[in-house]
Subunit: 200 residues, 2 copies
Amino acid sequence: MLRASMLLILALPAFAAAPVLPATLPDGPAYSDDGQLKFPENYRQWIFLSAGVDMSYNPGAQTAAHPVFDNVFVNPSAWRAFQETGTWPDKTMLVLENRGGESGHSINVRGTTQSADVVGLEVHVKDANGPQHGWGFFSFDNPRFAKLTPRTASCYSCHEAHAAVDTTFVQFYPTLYGLAERKGTLSAGYRKDVSTRAED
Amino acid sequence: MLRASMLLILALPAFAAAPVLPATLPDGPAYSDDGQLKFPENYRQWIFLSAGVDMSYNPGAQTAAHPVFDNVFVNPSAWRAFQETGTWPDKTMLVLENRGGESGHSINVRGTTQSADVVGLEVHVKDANGPQHGWGFFSFDNPRFAKLTPRTASCYSCHEAHAAVDTTFVQFYPTLYGLAERKGTLSAGYRKDVSTRAED
């Protein structure tokens, strides 16, 4: 489990060295010599796409014992390209950060707020020259490096079949979906899903 | 009700004119001649602080008929100052964006995701030279200008009594709270709340 305090310690020195936000600096993926993805230290300064709570794509999934938030961030250079094209350039990094949901924190008397602890962190990276040769998932269990998730994992086939734009779930990013629709970049799989649901 | 499409239309021309993100540009408040706050067009490119769902500070509040998300963003110049000091500088702008919560959107079979529609937008601004002379709330019902919320509104007294740092609810911002604690900037009111709860 990643602790927020670990992330903060990692992020601060990198920030202190940079007079401007990473938005104007290279913000793409970096790898170790053995092809592991380097932890994206400044991702909380990237562009926020959305947050969901207790999401699941599996109809058979049990309700989680504790609420979990999904926060999604994208590197600013990829976000800027998406504004122009409605799809993702090479070197896109989407960070999925999970935090626990808390009830009754401080003066909040109902509903759910986010925990200090990061309980999961996965990065979806598009890199033609990376070890994944295209899109790949990297799931971090420490704030340093993560191995590529094997291509046989179900996340790949699900994203390829159902994601709205270029294997990414833009249908859950409210400021990007309409843009993709107007640019005509919605995937065939996603459009098929929509028409199938309309017929039900 | 603000529509996400309205926000996008406003944000794009401003972005197209700027070769870098507003992180490195002036990002403080601007006002009309009659003291209304100008809508912060690029706030979705600012620093995300957290998202909650169905929050309420009122023990007597009814459960909402529909889920509502709270997304909070801060202007990058204020965020940078907070990293150094643990509190907010003059010209801080905190944007509270409300979006509806949706069930069963696309392939999501449980939990809640965020709507395209923005259903509320309020900005908490610290500006010694603004019409509020300090901290003030501005609630937008259109994406152009908003009047200052009168000082008699309960949001002022509640924030002054219970907010963790400088009348802002840093206790709900997981990447900032620990920093404020280490810098010794937690408010007397907040520390009293914590000790009172510990005695209960």
